[in-house]
Amino acid sequence: MDNSIFKNIGKKLQEARNKNGLTQEQVAKVLGINKVQLSYFENGAREINISLLQKLANLYGYSVEYFLGNEEINEPDIQIAFRAGDFIEEDLKIVSFAKTFLRNLHEMKSLLGR
């Protein structure tokens, strides 16, 4: 696959992480990967698998399509501004779950025209 695609995904991943106020270390811990791997994904140096991309999208509050698409979709954010000491790493899974829950809920309502 064209390397520029990974670079584009990586750039968006990094932006999304920064907007959420999370460090590479925190995100890596939540996902159970190592920090260097995450760094490779953010630099576009490695191909990211779709399941991991889905987990990152959930954690950051975006759709997977946002990261895969070329165009700059103006997605409404579900970002949480973390303050020091708010959450511990374990809690980020709850944040990720909540974001997925909310996104699904909204999509279901839209499908039913509500």
Binding site: G61, I78, A81, G85, I88, I94, L105, H106, M108
Partner: protein
Amino acid sequence: MNYDKIKFEAAETRKILGIGPYDRVDIFRVLRDIENISLIITKIRGNISGFFMRYKNTGLIVINASRSLGHQYFTAAHEYYHLKYDKGMSAKVCPINKFDDEYQNERDANLFAAQLLVPDEALGYMIQKRTKGRSLTLNDVIFLENYFQVSHKLMLLRLREIGAITSKQVEAMEKNIIKNAALLGYNTELYRNTEDKGTQIYSEYAELARTLLETGKITYGKYEELLLDGGYGDILFGENEDLEGTENAFKDANSI
């Protein structure tokens, strides 16, 4: 501080919701059944009471189950303020037990929650009704917090704010509250956390997924995925035996 404005917003909210001036607010019911805001109560280890998220016109509040039920009600009212009045915000984490927060909108949300759950007038009315003018005792405080369904800390704070008790009395009344409430015959759930209940979800989520499946708008596979994503694995894999059978209620219901 926008004290009068927030107080008015709280009063107006009660009026719109159809809650009487002296009635207690069932905030979980308000969120779920009236405002259609989803609620997840789950254990959060960090130092927060809860957080809210908004995606377009859909709202979600997550509450820390590690805090007392009374505190959870306050958190729900606090987050409700953010969703209802902090329109520019898409999400916010709210710290715990910090009534004097450095952020104005956090202070506003606290004030709103306090005035929504325990308005000055309602508190004054209930004090008068119970004490008929005599000084407040700890038993009265326990009665009041159970009437309004708020934590002991919040009730003491509110009573001090309206001048019903002094700071010295607050200090004297702070300890051994669960034991004292139990001795007076109250259910002590209000003072305890709800971690033992696991994650509780109050939302139309599962019903929407079911409706989408029944109307053929999604496949069974997608339905399963949605339920698993939403924490409803027990609907798919749970023991169904307990769900079968008939409701055990009045046999003579038809005569009512």
